[in-house]
Structure formats: C-alpha cells, structure tokens
C-alpha cells in the first residue's frame, strides 16, 4: 500500500479533546431541540469516537478539499447519530457552525440522516441500518486497487449489528485482507425499545469479530486516553487484517437523565431539558 497521504495537522491534546467533546454535545443538544426531533442520545454515545477521529489527528481529510482522492473515508453507518458528525464537520470547517441550527429543516443539506448528494464531506447515505460496513468494504477494496493509502472508518451502532448484512461484510473483509477498513462498534448498550442484551444479545462481541478474522480492541469509548491509542493502532496496523474497535459507551452519555433511560431514543430534549443538559455539560 502506498504511503503518500499527509498526516493531519493540529491534533488536540486529551484536555482539549475533552473540551471539544463538550462543545460537540452542546451542538447536538441545541440542534436537535431546535429541530424538535432527532436522536440526541444516540449522538452522545459516539461523541468521543467522532471527536477523536476529527480532532485527535486520526482522520486524514481536508475540509477545503472534500473530494481529495487519497482522503480517509468516514461512514456514520448508524445514520441517526449524524448530529455528532455534522457538529464535528462544522467545527473542522466543512460548513459554517451557524448552519448547524438548520438541522432537519426544509432546504438544509443537514438532513435527518446523512445524504451524500446534499453535503460535501458526507461519504455515504445511511439511515437504513446495516449497510455502512459493506460500503466501507467496497471503498477499502477500491483503495487497494488504486494503491491508495486511504483508510475507511465505519461507526456501527450497538443495535445496528443485529442486521445480517453487517455479518456478511464481516465475513467478507478478512478474505480480501482489507487492513485499511476499521469498524468501530459504538457499544452503547441500548437500542430503540430496550437494552441490547434484552432485545437481541450480541455479546461476546469481541470474540465474535475476532472469530470472523478481525483484529479486535475492546476499549472504553468515552476515555480519550484509551480510545486515541486504539484508533492510532487500528489505523496504522497495516497487517492485512481488518480492524475492529469495540468502543464501550453509554447511550445518552453526558446528560444524566438521558443516560438512565433508553426511552430517550429518537426524542429531542425539551427547552427545559435542554437547559438542564447544558448545565450538566458545563455550559451554563
């Protein structure tokens, strides 16, 4: 594999990343409350994952040149968590931060689920769960054919991995030795109607992915000190094995009354709840 891609500049310290994650969560709360709909709790759980990728010096990308052929690709396969991605994209300069508030409004490219035809920097249109890993595998195969250093990062939801297509892709990737494909499972313990352990048990996750032929790391998905090195290791493994990170997270992370209740799936916060949430996040 070629190695001509430039390393991203401006990687933040863990302290600065923690601040950035606080800012991303504030955007998520503001956006979804203003929209009156959306999935803030699903967006909170992957906040550190996305923050580490976009601000921790992991993702090789250029907001000024979103079609750079050798860029890394990021796919939010759990498309309902796209507010996290929009917030990170705005903060890295894909579009103005003040556009975030147009989420889900008619005419805005910030649709309820990501739409590749509407917003430069979105790499896949998702929202029907289970499809992002196959798309990522296709991109990984294309990068290999082109001898490109591009890496493909795919965030999967905890409930999303109920979908059979995830496991079709998980079977196929090792066959092709796509070491440039990194699946990150946002293992947030809950899905729409209950805890994942009750709806459809998918543990032991690490053993499952390993037995399929992936190199697996099992880490705390909210702790940058654990997450950053895991992402770095996966991105640089280059050992011909697809990489999987089981990121142990919590649905609703950061806002206590959302963390305690999976019933917040797909529910925006009311104005009153928004103010409580921002206070908990340290924004009051």
């Amino acid at each position: 594999m070629a190695t001509t891609a430039e390393a991203p500049s401006g990687a933040l310290s863990i302290e600065a990343l923690t601040d950035k994650a606080r800012l991303i969560r504030k955007h998520i709360v503001d956006m979804t409350t203003e929209a009156g709909s959306g999935h803030p709790s699903s967006s909170f759980s992957c906040t550190e994952i996305v923050t580490a990728l976009y601000f921790g010096g992991i993702l090789r990308h250029d907001p000024q040149n979103p079609t750079w052929p050798e860029r890394d690709r990021f796919i939010m396969s759990k498309g309902h968590a796209v507010p996290t991605l929009y917030a990170a994209m705005a903060e890295t300069g894909y579009f103005p931060v003040d556009q975030l508030i147009t989420l889900r409004k008619l005419g805005s490219p910030l649709e309820g689920h990501p739409n590749v035809r509407r917003l430069p920097g979105i790499e896949a249109s998702t929202g029907s769960l289970g499809q992002g890993l196959s798309i990522g595998l296709g991109m990984a195969l294309a990068a290999k054919l082109d001898n490109s250093p591009s890496r493909i990062w795919v965030v999967l939801g905890d409930g999303e991995i109920d979908e059979g297509q995830i496991w079709e892709a998980a079977l196929a990737a090792p066959k092709y030795g796509t070491g440039n494909l990194i699946a990150i499972v946002d293992a947030n313990t809950a899905q729409q109607t209950g805890y994942t352990k009750d709806v459809l048990p998918t543990e032991p996750k690490a053993e499952k992915w390993a037995s399929f032929g992936w190199e697996v790391q099992d880490v705390d998905g909210h702790d940058f000190a654990a997450l950053l090195p895991a992402l770095q290791k996966a991105g640089e493994a280059n050992n011909g094995k697809p990489q999987c990170i089981i990121a142990r997270t919590l649905k609703g992370k950061g806002v206590s009354f959302v963390e305690k209740d999976y019933g917040y799936h797909g529910k925006p916060l009311t104005q009153e709840e928004r103010l409580r949430a921002l206070e908990e996040l340290g924004w009051s």
Binding site: A124, T126, S128, G138, A172
Partner: protein, 317 residues
C-alpha cells in the same frame, strides 16, 4: 426452445452470455470497471469477465446484500461497479441495498439480473425473476433495460456503461432467437420498430419479442397489418414512439415475460392513458407464480407464447 420457429428465426446466444462477453471486452477498454458477484458467476456469466480481469473481480459469497453494498462502495471511490445475480436474488433479496446504497446516492452501479422470467424452466418459481422490472422501475432514477437477443444485449451493456449512474439490465437463461443483425441501430431509450403496421401495435421486449413477431406474421395471414415495437428500455420510456403507435394504429397489445403489475404493461399504459388513450390488451404472467417445467411448456401453459398474443390481438381487431 420453440420461440421464433414459425418465422424462421435462428437461435443465438443467451443474453447472459452476451452480457458476460460484452463486459469482458469493455473491461479491457476501461480499467475502472469492477465486478462483484454472489457466487453465481458461472450462471450470471460474470465468470467471462473474471477470467480476463481477475484482479477486478470479487466473489463475496452467497450474500447479495453485501454484494450490492460492496459494489456501491467501489462506485463511491470512482469505479464503475457491476454486480450480478439471478434477477430475483439481486433485486428482491437486496432491494433495500439497491434503494439506499445505490439509487439514493446515485452511484455508478450497474445491476444485472440473469435468469429472468419463467423461461428458466425446470428450476421452478423460487429461481424465476418475475417482478424484477417492476421493482427496478421503482428505484428513483434507475435506467431499466430488457434486451431481447445477443446483439441488443451487447449494445445495452455498452450503452449503460457510457452512462454515469445506476442501471438495471435484465438477462435471460435460454438461448435467445436472433432478432438483430450486427450493425443494427439500437439506442438506449429509443424503441425499435421491428415491423410496420397500421391496424394494431404489439409492444414488447426481452424474449417475448420473438413471440410478438410470430404473432404479427400469423395475424398478417388474416389480413391484419401489425406493428411491432421493441421497447427494450422500460425507463426512461420512449413515450413518443408509443404515443405515435397508439395514434396511428389505434390498438395496442403489451407482451412481457413478467407479472402483470409494474412492468412494461404498466409503463406503456401510463404513457398511452396520458397521451392518446386507445383499447389495450396485456399478455403476461398475470398475478401468480409459475412452476417447474420445460421453458416452452411453461410459456404455453402460462399464456406467453405467440398464440396467446394472436388471441389478445384478435380481441381488439
């Protein structure tokens, strides 16, 4: 297969074989072409491409959803990705992937469904693509093409290769009667008038083109002058040629190897209803599954041989 025998048509290659050969040839010209199959390569005939271009061929196993997704990802990264399976497996099994991972982003993925219709014969209904045209037409901005013989299939492969965006190509299992000679004019989106006539028009595509031509010849013996249109491109539809035929002949029979709902008959009906309503009849599988049997026996039993077309035409004449 008996199709075309009464008018002396000769048997040519199956459209699936013509597809495989055309794609192999295009692969030599265009290095961006990649092919993904779900372990039916020697049935869909992508194996012909694979043999010539092994580095650009991916057999992802019996997993159609993943096949379509992988093709989508390859296309997202600048490849022209072709994927193939039996028509019913790629379209019905992987429909949400065609919708979300191909049509919605409008990526350059070409979807090929082989073993279409009931003429696959003995393998029976589970293997027969009888709803694929309807489903493919329901994918926004998909181009949908149903060639009738080896020449038109090669032309169709080249035509959809030249497009940037999603397309569905329907191919068949049996050897197909030769309708077109090399060098014949064949343009995507343009109906081909295979025979002129003033009393009635038969609109058809795929394997049924041969039955339509046989029916037209039989009707001519009764003194009826019958036009035959090969509407190989179901989407976008050649509304002009269809409207012209309705206006000039006043009666239309639509013949297809497909369920009644959502295929060529539906598309043609909308065009005629909107532009020049005339009496119509329909020859197709209706609203049912077929069964195992020889292709000729099935076409006869399920009402899709030329005698059925003649009968439908006589109702109007």
């Amino acid at each position: 297969m008996e199709l075309g025998k009464t008018i002396g048509l000769t048997s040519g290659k199956a459209t699936r074989v013509a597809f495989g050969e055309a794609l192999r040839d295009l692969g030599a010209e265009d290095p961006s072409i990649v092919v993904v199959d779900a372990d039916l390569n020697n049935s869909t005939r992508t194996d012909i491409f694979a043999k010539a271009h092994p580095d650009r061929f991916f057999n992802v196993g019996i997993a159609e959803s993943n096949m379509v997704g992988v093709a989508a990802g390859l296309a997202a990264s600048g490849k022209q990705a072709w994927c193939a399976s039996f028509a019913t497996f790629v379209v019905s099994n992987a429909y949400d992937q065609l919708r979300m991972s191909v049509a919605f982003p409008k990526w350059d993925v070409k979807v090929v469904g082989s073993h279409s219709g009931i003429s696959i014969g003995e393998d029976g209904p589970s293997q027969m693509g009888i709803e694929d045209v309807s489903l493919a037409c329901s994918l926004p901005e998909f181009v949908v093409v149903v060639p009738c013989d080896e020449y038109s299939c090669r032309a169709a492969v080249r035509a959809i290769h030249a497009l940037k965006g999603p397309a569905y190509l329907r191919t068949g299992r049996p050897n197909a009667p030769v309708i077109y000679q090399d060098g014949a004019e064949w343009t995507l989106g343009k109906a081909n008038q295979l025979r002129d006539g003033s009393d009635l028009t038969i609109i058809t595509n795929g394997l049924m083109v041969a039955a339509a031509l046989e029916a037209a010849a039989a009707l001519e013996k009764d003194g009826a002058s019958v036009r035959v249109l090969d509407v190989h491109t179901v989407k976008p539809l050649d509304v002009e040629a269809i409207t012209k035929a309705a206006r000039e002949t006043g009666k239309v029979v639509v013949v297809e190897e497909h369920l009644a709902h959502g295929g060529l008959g539906s598309a043609v009906s909308m065009a005629i209803a909107a532009n020049h309503p005339v009496p119509m009849r329909f020859v197709n599988l209706g609203d049912q599954f077929a069964e195992s049997g020889s292709p000729a026996a099935l076409l006869e039993k399920y009402g899709m041989n030329y005698q059925n077309v003649v009968r439908a035409a006589r109702e109007l004449l």
